[in-house]
Amino acid sequence: MSDSSTALKKKVVGRLVFFFFFLSLSFRLFLHATPSHWLEPVLFKIDFDFTYWLFMLSGLPDIIIQNKIGSILFDIFLLLTAFLCIILPDKNLICILFGCLFFIYALSYNTYIVHHAHPLTIMTLASTPFFFRNDRVWNFLWEGFRYYVCYIYTMSFFWKSFIGKSLLFWNMGINSFEQNLVEYIFYYPDTMISSFYKFLIVHPFILNVGAITIFLLEGFMVVGFFTKKLDRVLFFIPILIHVATYFFSDVFFMEMLVGIFAFLSFEKVKKIVQHFPLIAY
């Protein structure tokens, strides 16, 4: 890929990625899930994750979480830098600033929901290639991120196949479904989706086959290590996986979908530019 093509790809992919970040953060702001809405939370969880220890020892939580004005300013800067990154994805200093703020946000969120979820910190990794002004370095890191996305799903499949072995457990689909969705069916017994859920409980075969299919789709991501020819398929697999887990496991991992942008080829980027010329401006 020539230097000008790499620069174009960096700009277009950058805009898509940072737009995704901006949407995610706006959505979280709306859901009272950004520091200015946390009202100086008291319970925390840092376990033995030394990155979280460093975060707590840095004194940052006292400034941006436990201080009303600090938390408002943090939200403003976080959203503002995300917006600036959409406009100027090739300005690496803004991207560095945003990446750092987002990482702090991810650590804070996980600390105060007392659960160390992975999706937000994975999003931070998506921003790191943009920390580099040099387009060739960006290209290498972005390709590295693409391998990392393949690695995540492949490793998840590896765990299910060889470590925890849930892939071999036939009733995994129905049991995890019941565990996650009984609360919803209990509270909302008369919704259309509850009727569908009840139908699935009566027909567990569908859920068990569905769970195995999702696990195998995760495993299929391994092909990304050997060829780029199937990237247009790999683009859709995480979407399928996270939409399925949204409805059948009641988990919201949609932010992991930032990874799908890693499967956009230069040809795809050119097509996007043809349809939306403003994106390359």
């Binding site: 009733n171 049991n175 009840k198 409980i201």
Partner: protein
């Protein structure tokens, strides 16, 4: 293809090559051999262990202002839901039910004695919640809940609710026990 990626990276930028290679190696080793995680190195083990069938399932039912139940209709509300349910689950387990906290026990009984220099340098640091946090929690919870439900909250009841799944897929309550109550003074 991954091989050619690493070869080109090695030729173009050796520092970056070492950084990227190490990142992948540490990730793989942490998953396959040591099963440990320190951000941003993670285990991808969610749903990797078989989930056993259960006769009944239990969850916390949170009732506020006497008769209103805190419910989340949509999965996309998860960021708020985690703030309200995870924290309450932790509070109930450690403060109300007085269960032991393995993190606290390991930190005090095992980790700190082996890292006295750290303890001396950071005396105020702890990696667990204790009464200082638990005593402030109900008031914080009430205020956060007010913001989410958009009304003044003066009273919160927490029930441990147990439900069973019938053959037709219907979910029926087996029992519900009040385990914690908070009233604004």
């Amino acid at each position: 293809m991954a091989k050619s990626y690493f070869i080109s990276l090695f030729k173009a930028n050796k520092t970056l090559f070492v950084f990227v290679l190490l990142f992948f190696l540490i990730n793989i080793v942490a998953n396959v051999w040591f099963v440990t995680q320190i951000t941003p190195i993670y285990n991808w083990s969610l749903y990797s262990s078989p989930v056993k069938s259960q006769e009944t399932y239990s969850f916390l039912k949170i009732q506020y202002n006497h008769n209103k139940v805190l419910k989340f209709k949509h999965t996309w509300e998860e960021p708020t839901k985690l703030f309200l349910l995870n924290t309450m689950n932790l509070f109930v387990a450690l403060k109300v039910e007085k269960k032991s906290d393995p993190i606290k026990e390991h930190y005090i009984n095992s980790w700190l004695p082996r890292h006295s220099t750290f303890h001396a340098a950071f005396k105020g640091f702890k990696n667990y919640n204790d009464d200082k946090e638990f005593n402030r929690f109900p008031y914080w919870y009430e205020r956060y809940l007010e913001q989410v439900v958009n009304e003044n909250v003066t009273q919160i009841d927490v029930y441990e609710t147990r439900v069973g799944v019938l053959k037709d897929g219907t979910v029926k309550q087996a029992n519900s026990k009040l385990i914690y109550s908070y009233n604004e003074r």
